[in-house]
Amino acid sequence: MSSIRYFARFGVTEALVADALSAALSRGGDFADVFFQHRVSNDLALEDGAVNRAYTTVELGVGVRVVKGDQTGYGYTEDLSPAALRACAETAAAIASGPARPAPQRFHVPSRLPDRYRLQTPWEEVRPEAKLPLLEGVNARVFAADPRVKKVSVHFRDEAGAVLVATSDGRLVEDLQPMTLLYVSCLAEQGGRREQGGYNVAGRAGFDFYAPDRVDRVVREAVARTAILFEAGPAPAGELPVVLAAGSSGILLHEAIGHGMEADFNRKNVSIYADKIGKAIAKPFVNIVDDAANEGARGAINVDDEGNAAGTTRLVEDGVLATYLHDAISAKHYGVAPTGNGRRQGYAYPPLPRMRSTYMLPGPHKREEIIQSVKKGIYCENFTNGQVNIGAGDFTFYVKNGWLIEDGKLTRPIKDVNIIGNGPKVLEQVDMVSDDLAIDEGGWTCGKDGQSVPVSQGLPTVRVASLTVGGRGNG
């Protein structure tokens, strides 16, 4: 029996893969891999009370990468015929210029991968009619929950498909990678004012992901996060203590340290963390990981897009920077084992070191104690987006909902404020960490070099002694 299961339906065989790798190494590259991808995404959207639009996207293609030293040649095609694949491999091969190197004719296929995305039923077997009641039910319940709601949109997505990676050192691995996402947005009116809010959930899971308690939460949070905006005012401007709620506040880690720890930036000497491995950068109770193994999480993977095992990577251990996030090129450059962070958006992109699920482990403090410790500051609950300058270390995250903290109490809601800080400075200023770690269930997507990949993030309640709050008026 062939070792290739999923991609056999497209005529992909070990001989085809071996031929492509042989062409890839025809000019003396050190290393080569081929990455096949098939992904079928189905989107259903409800607007103005009806599921009245559907979108289907079929992606199918193959990328061939050749590495020579730190240099990469890359080609890709949607045509999986032997001739097209060979031509694509020869294009990538041109990064090197030397005698051909031998390519493997047989592959080692791992007997089993971890099983981090368990589905009761594959998405291919879920009929569209079965999905519609989910969207319609959420719509009806959001309207019923608050008479101020005037518009609701619900967006549902499922993805099915697989990747196949085969490398010039003889590994071949296939991984089936499901994904689903439900996004609810609602618009409410009160006294001539309008506010829009929402909630979303995502995971590498099947239709059973939408268990009653999760759907209840989607409805409840979408309404609550919108309604509170009518009570909310602008945040103050200036430097203040900031408390981050447990959960999606993990965006702080993603921006303040995660990107700066991606090894490609350090290999190029352009990250603010480029010479800090082994150094203390935070209080001893700060532990940060990037984890492929959160079962069912949006950021979970069984194997990375270079075919390397993906597990739990300790970024910061007891306040000390432990390791970067590596892909194959950077791991070779630093002489360490890959950490399973080589990821790509799809077959049209070479892999890069990327985060998976990034979070901080629980610490010694209590949530109440942290809030009570702040005389005047802000408490951040929900976020939309963030960004970082890798070298200067400046980063931002945008707070959609939060609270003002006055004399140790949450006093009034605030909204729409950007927070800005500097990565290493902020990590030094994380001075309280609670025991209530939560991994957010939202549909986060990380962009880098024009490539988007799904990620997760989490945090226990944390206090940062000072950050710049981009609000209005005087602090």
């Binding site: 607007e47 289907t56 199918l60 730190d70 602008p234 070479p350 931002t396 945008y398 710049t468």
Partner: protein, 441 residues
């Protein structure tokens, strides 16, 4: 030629009708792209590919879906279309879904937009690498270059071919080329940080690009100017936003001008057609018919014949971006689904003179994250740039934030430069705003 794509689009539409669609729009594309990246004295990465696919919008029994596939094996396409039609039949009918009125296809301009460089095929691998190398060499030749830690440069070019066919009479095909140069420079700040900045240029014709030396030098000078950056103080300031950064701010004003945002009540500009939104200096139009323009087109993404229309005149809102579907829902005539090129009423002076007139304030040279609430107009944006003192650029500042509401910001537009940023479709000039809330220390 794109004529083979036109044939694919026609055949796909015909297949959809055979399988039961009442109407259909089909599109096919093919893109050839080459990208060379160079870093610190050697080639870093070369990516080269020809990619293709097709898309289909289906109108079946009053229901709508849009699908696309890269799996073009004939038997796969046949099954794909059949599945898509079955999927569409499961949805709720929507009386507003139909192809555009064919009259909107009429009157297509015959202007030669000159979007394809006839000499595209002359570029070869060696020339691309030479350009990327020249970008780095010029970056490293600037004064103060010993502080440079790393230079990454790139050159890329694409030839895009596409065709679109509607079952009610639209058909069009086009070929466009794009060429781009870029340079990113990281420098060592004595305080341990590694600030970076970039410069880039791109256009439809290779010979219209600036010399790589100019781009490389600008990137290095910009990065070196970030050394010593500190957080400035909080307060209300007059803020100039340099031309290339102004597009982000403007995007938050244009986004809520779409019919989709209006119909879904997610727009702070709802009900404001004809109202004064900005100061009298805010005057711009959407102009799809600019020769060689990065957003130029003879028809929009729905086949509607492209024409110029005003967005703001002396600060008053004149048009929304109205597409076919939401236009029907709102009872508004379509203009275009989205922005093409912007044509600004420019001011008389460049950035230097605007800063001299500004006196005390800030020049923003980059935004970092942040967001804008399209429903309320509230925004909060990370920013870096320079303090302006006595009408002159002073120390670099970073880790700052601008906030406010668009309905308060644009009436305070006090200056518009004569310097549209040439390498983008938005062609934003330097913009000066008074009384902006800035957060820092």
């Amino acid at each position: 030629m794109a004529s083979d794509l036109l044939k694919v689009a026609e055949e796909t539409v015909a297949l959809a009708l055979r399988k039961g669609a009442r109407e259909a729009a089909g599109g096919a594309y093919r893109v050839r792209s080459v990208e060379v990246q160079w870093r610190d004295g050697q080639l870093e990465k070369v990516t080269e590919a020809t990619t293709r696919g097709l898309g289909l919008e289906l109108y079946v029994d009053g229901r709508y879906s849009a699908v696309s596939t890269a799996d073009l094996r004939p038997e796969a396409v046949e099954q794909f279309v059949a599945d898509a039609i079955a999927l569409t039949r499961t949805l709720t009918p929507d009386p507003y879904r139909a192809l555009p009125d064919p009259r909107l296809y009429e009157g297509r301009s015959t202007l030669a937009l000159d979007l394809e460089d006839p000499r595209y095929g002359e570029l070869d691998a060696a020339r691309r690498v030479d350009l990327a190398r020249a970008l780095e060499e010029s970056a490293r030749a600037v004064k103060g270059a010993e502080a440079i830690l790393s230079v990454t440069t790139g050159f890329g070019d694409t030839l895009g071919e596409s065709a679109r066919v509607h079952s009610n009479g639209f058909s069009g095909a086009r070929r466009v080329t794009d060429f781009g140069l870029s340079a990113q420079v990281s420098v060592k700040d004595p305080d341990g940080r590694r600030p970076e900045d970039w410069d880039a240029a791109g256009g439809r014709h290779f010979r219209a690009l600036p010399a790589p030396e100019r781009v490389g030098r600008a990137a290095a000078e910009r990065a070196l100017a970030r050394i010593g950056s500190r957080k400035g103080e909080s307060g209300r300031f007059t803020v100039a936003v340099e031309n290339r950064s102004a597009a982000r701010l403007l995007g938050f004003l244009l986004g809520p001008m779409t019919a989709a945002a209006l119909q879904q009540k997610r727009s702070f500009l709802d009900g404001k057609l004809g109202a004064q939104i900005g100061s009298a200096r805010l005057e711009l139009a959407d102009d799809p018919l600019v020769p060689r323009g990065l957003g130029s087109r003879l028809w929009d993404s729905e086949g509607i014949a492209a024409r110029r229309f005003p967005l703001f005149e002396a600060g008053a809102l004149r048009s929304y971006f109205v597409d076919n579907y939401y236009g029907r829902k709102l009872g508004m005539a379509p203009t275009s689904r989205g922005m093409s090129n912007l044509a600004w009423k420019l001011g008389e002076h460049g950035q230097d003179r605007l800063l001299a007139e500004l006196g005390e304030g800030l020049l923003v040279t980059g935004f970092l994250g942040g967001n804008s609430n399209s429903t309320t107009g509230d925004f909060s944006l990370g920013a870096q740039g320079f303090r302006v003192r006595g009408g002159q650029l002073a120390e670099p500042v970073g880790e700052m934030n601008l906030s406010g509401n668009h309905l308060e910001l644009w009436p305070h537009l006090a200056g518009v430069g004569n310097d549209p940023y040439p390498w983008s479709a938005a062609r934003t000039p330097t913009l000066v705003f008074e009384g902006v809330q800035v957060a820092g220390t």
